[in-house]
């Protein structure tokens, strides 16, 4: 599998897979993640995918998508280390899977390109109604993070750990920056993004639609392309003393998140041993955290470690009875120390590698998972799940012990209940 060069800074990847009754197409735009542009860029996929020149009314567009047998055509924003990803996708049943002779897949793909390249605009500005609607939805999404205490705790610790960097921001950018976005600023961002992004189009399905890559090149011809350089992320230097933050909320369960840093970032080859370590430490039910913090000490329902490959950190999070929070933290650190001291068996490692391998092979059964797999990797050669298996199979116990030693505790974030108890109103 190789990338096909389509134009300046534009690549195509076709992943042949005959299992599905759908074709999955994604257009991925990669840009440097910057404080000044994160919010306005992140709003783009939402405004662009809500309407276009052909369908300026979002209800009419949605009706069209329903008529195309429920085609999913949309966009999202994400961050990968110090890079921002704007992803546009089209996911539609193939023509042979429906009872009528309608070229639905082709029409869904046309809509995808229309959304990205032919937006509904007027006099160098997106329309106020569209911007206002999507801006409000994003602002309410930001406000609503607090409704999910686990997600909120993770967003808060990320902000604390990377407070001086764009990476510390939410995927959407900050509330104030989103609120300040206008039709004009969004239009300028759209032109800049299309002109400067590194672009990768990915297709997963039985066949590559005829002339698809050329059509993308044609759409880009109206833009003066000057591609911005995408760099490997800079890792964080850990705090000299652990930064501790505690918030009080009206909750019954406490949340504990511990952020650990390494200075190892990079591609799959350089970071695979960290992923294996994190899985053995706090991945599946065979992991140290599950077996001890949950099963042996009954401290939590969940206690998991999640590594971030592109930025070189790891978060361990759990929901815990407030009185047990300190004990849980101590026990999580104990488990880490045990690995550092070499207190793990060949079977511990084998269990992790088996489980990781199994789930990597299963990725081939999901178009969305495969699409995500490739788009989260920015490299000159695509690394398939199978390639990655051959990398993790070489990870040794010594590598895992070394990985454990590379992590330094940087920040501890807690949500703890208010002293007062919760009351129900019981109105009728």
């Amino acid at each position: 599998m190789k990338y096909v060069n389509i134009a300046n800074g534009v690549k195509g990847l076709f992943i042949e897979n005959n299992r599905f009754s759908t074709t999955h197409i994604s257009v991925n735009l990669y840009l440097p993640l910057k404080n000044e542009t994160i919010a306005v860029n992140a709003l783009l996929p939402y405004v662009l995918s809500s309407c276009c020149k052909e369908y300026p009314d979002f209800s009419a567009l949605n009706l069209r998508l329903s008529e195309l047998y429920g085609a999913d055509v949309g966009g999202i924003a994400d961050k990968i280390g110090d890079t921002q990803l704007l992803k546009f996708f089209s996911f539609c049943v193939e023509d042979d899977a429906i009872p009528e002779a309608v070229p639905v897949a082709e029409q869904a793909c046309d809509l995808l390109f229309s959304m990205i390249f032919e937006p509904s605009t007027k006099n160098g500005s997106f329309l106020d109604a569209d911007v206002e609607r999507e801006r409000r939805l994003t602002l309410e999404k930001i406000e609503g993070i607090i409704n999910d205490k686990r997600a909120y705790a993770i967003s808060r610790i990320t902000k604390e750990m990377y407070k001086d960097e764009a990476f510390g921001q939410l995927k959407t950018g900050s509330y104030d920056a989103v609120a300040a976005t206008t039709g004009k600023s969004l239009f300028a961002a759209w032109q800049e993004v299309i002109s400067t992004a590194e672009i990768v189009i990915q297709v997963i399905g039985k066949k590559l639609p005829d002339g698809l890559f050329n059509r993308l090149a044609e759409k880009l011809q109206g833009f003066e392309r000057r591609v911005a350089e995408i760099k490997t992320a800079t890792p964080k230097k850990p705090n000299a003393t652990v930064n501790r933050i505690e918030e009080k909320m009206d909750v019954s369960q406490g949340k504990l998140v511990m952020g650990f840093c390494t200075d190892v970032v990079g591609g799959d080859k350089e970071t695979a041993f960290l992923a294996v370590f994190a899985d053995l430490f706090g991945g599946g039910p065979y992991s140290k955290l599950f077996k001890n913090v949950r099963e042996k000490y009954s401290l939590c329902y969940y206690c998991a470690a999640r590594p971030n490959r592109s930025k070189g950190f790891m978060l361990v999070d759990c929901g815990v009875e407030p009185k047990n929070a300190e004990r849980a933290e101590a026990e999580i650190l104990n488990q880490l120390e045990d690995i550092k001291k070499g207190d793990l068996t060949a079977e511990d490692l084998a269990a992790s590698i088996r489980s990781l391998k199994d789930s990597l092979i299963c990725l081939n059964d999901s178009q969305a998972a495969l699409d995500n797999w490739y788009s989260m990797r920015i490299s000159d050669d695509p690394v398939s799940p199978e390639d990655y298996i051959s990398i993790i199979e070489k990870v040794t116990i010594e590598d895992v012990i070394k990985a454990a030693g590379l992590y330094t505790l940087d920040t501890v974030y807690k949500i703890m209940p208010l002293a007062k108890s919760r009351e129900s109103e019981g109105e009728n």
């Binding site: 299992r19 009754s21 979002f58 209800s59 949605n62 009706l63 998508l65 329903s66 008529e67 195309l68 047998y69 429920g70 085609a71 539609c92 049943v93 429906i98 639905v104 409000r136 939805l137 309410e140 999404k141 406000e143 609503g144 993070i145 607090i146 409704n147 909320m249 009206d250 909750v251 019954s252 369960q253 599946g284 039910p285 065979y286 599950f290 949950r294 009954s298 401290l299 939590c300 329902y301 969940y302 009875e321 269990a351 590698i353 088996r354 489980s355 391998k357 199994d358 092979i361 299963c362 081939n364 059964d365 999901s366 178009q367 009351e423 129900s424 109103e425 019981g426 109105e427 009728n428």
Partner: protein
């Protein structure tokens, strides 16, 4: 071995069904060329099965949350827990308890038969002791606390408590810290023996395998009970007509009020059939789906945001259409939904919109056959509710606007229950 091939000419799919002499239903859906296999060994026993009548004719009431507790405990057998066994094969394994079922599952890309053997063994090997029950109370206690802090969960159960007077679907699946404290290893054995009788259970598998081989393997490895019960029935208390409360609210740490709006129709305490499900799913999309005029109005007047959703919440013995979301004015959202339903009743349904959402439902449903997990989930739904999976697809092609219009009668103010979770910060105001 009576191997029945169930076919659909309409969507060009087929699967194998076999009924084991014990009454166990086995469904095998081959997916040629796929890497992974997905399996569920389940029982038609969930949180709603909270009481039964014993041989003496007495009603036995069970502690709330016991089906879920049993699910956690079944993972442990006398010779170690199932997670440890799956760790040797690399499979992903899990289990879940819902209102009307308990399912044990794995997905794997290799050592399929080893994994199937583990599944067949541990689900048939209960091992409960005082010590293991005590240990689980701490873990599940934390799971319950987690749900207590999830506003989406709270707003939904408050709605169900407003809809139903007695129906056990309003019971929180995990129970309460107090109710699970009443669970002993003896009650677990009683429930296991009754509700995990093979005649109440099913196996659903999807993946690239030889169906004859798999069937032989199951027959050779399934542990049979010494004394089959054959009566796994539970009893539901009588549910009066009409809702219990029209409005329920509480406060939590949320940014904006959350709402869950449910409607109690004539059949709220019944299991819906294929056509009812399809008709209601289409109606909900026509009322408030992304292409509907109402959704446009709700978005443009800032009454809802992307959290807005709806579903036909249904299962074995319950059926309630619901709308959920965040809004500064949930009451107004409810009024607009009611008035749109009234408009549809008076003026009839828009044919173009009907056809569009019918196609959407067809396309989205057909896509589910691309994923082993979804296939197993569809087979499980059909088994638990007692309908035919392929008839569901036939219903999507034969449904008419008149079928859909029949479902409109539930959307009346007298049937509505609005549950709201308000931000806690208002408390000081």
């Amino acid at each position: 071995m009576n191997k029945q091939i169930v076919k659909s000419a309409l969507i060009n799919k087929e699967y194998i069904v076999n009924e084991h002499p014990s009454g166990l239903k086995i469904m095998l859906y081959p997916m040629k060329g796929f890497s992974s296999n997905y399996a569920i060994f389940g029982t038609k026993y969930g949180a709603v099965d909270n009481a039964y009548v014993n041989e003496k004719g007495e009603t036995v009431n069970l502690p709330e949350g016991i089906a879920h507790f049993l699910e956690h405990k079944l993972f442990e057998s006398e010779d170690g827990d199932a997670f440890a066994k799956y760790a040797k094969t690399g499979a992903y394994s899990n289990a879940y308890t819902s209102f009307d079922r308990t399912c044990y599952l794995f997905s794997c890309s290799n050592r399929f038969y080893d994994n199937l053997k583990i599944l067949l063994d541990f689900v048939r090997s209960p091992y409960f002791t005082e010590a293991t029950v005590n240990k689980e109370q701490g873990i599940i206690g934390q799971e319950i606390r987690m749900y207590d802090d999830m506003p989406g969960w709270v707003v939904m159960f408050n709605m169900l408590a407003g809809i139903f007077h007695n129906h056990p679907v309003k019971i929180d699946i995990a129970g309460t810290v107090e109710s699970i404290a009443k669970i002993t290893y003896n009650t677990l054995y009683d429930c296991y023996n009754r509700f995990y009788d093979l005649s109440n259970m099913f196996i659903a598998l999807a993946g690239d395998f030889n169906t004859d081989e798999v069937l032989d393997f199951i027959y050779n490895n399934l542990k049979l009970p010494e004394n089959p019960v054959k009566d796994s029935s539970s009893v539901f208390p009588n549910e009066p007509k009409g809702v219990k409360e029209h409005f329920v609210s509480c406060k939590l740490d949320v940014a904006k009020p959350l709402f869950c709006l449910g409607f109690k129709g004539e059949n709220a305490a019944e299991t819906p059939n294929e056509m009812q499900i399809v008709s209601m799913e289409i109606l909900l999309k026509m009322l408030a789906g992304s292409a509907s005029p109402l959704y446009k109005e709700l978005l443009q007047s800032s009454l809802v945001n992307e959290e807005f959703s709806f579903e036909y919440f249904n299962g074995r013995g319950f059926a309630v259409p619901i709308f959920e979301g965040e809004s500064d004015n949930p009451q107004r959202v409810m009024e607009l939904i009611l008035s749109k339903a009234q408009e549809y009743r008076e003026k009839g349904l828009d044919e173009r919109l009907f056809e569009a959402v019918r196609r959407e439902l067809y396309g989205r449903s057909i896509r589910r056959f691309d994923v082993a997990e979804s296939v197993v989930s569809m087979l499980t739904d059909a088994t638990v509710l007692g309908y035919d999976l392929f008839k569901y697809f036939e219903a999507i092609t034969t449904v008419t606007p008149a079928d859909v219009a029949e479902q409109l009668s539930v959307f009346l103010a007298e049937n509505a229950v609005l549950s709201v979770v308000n931000p806690a910060s208002d408390k000081e105001a």
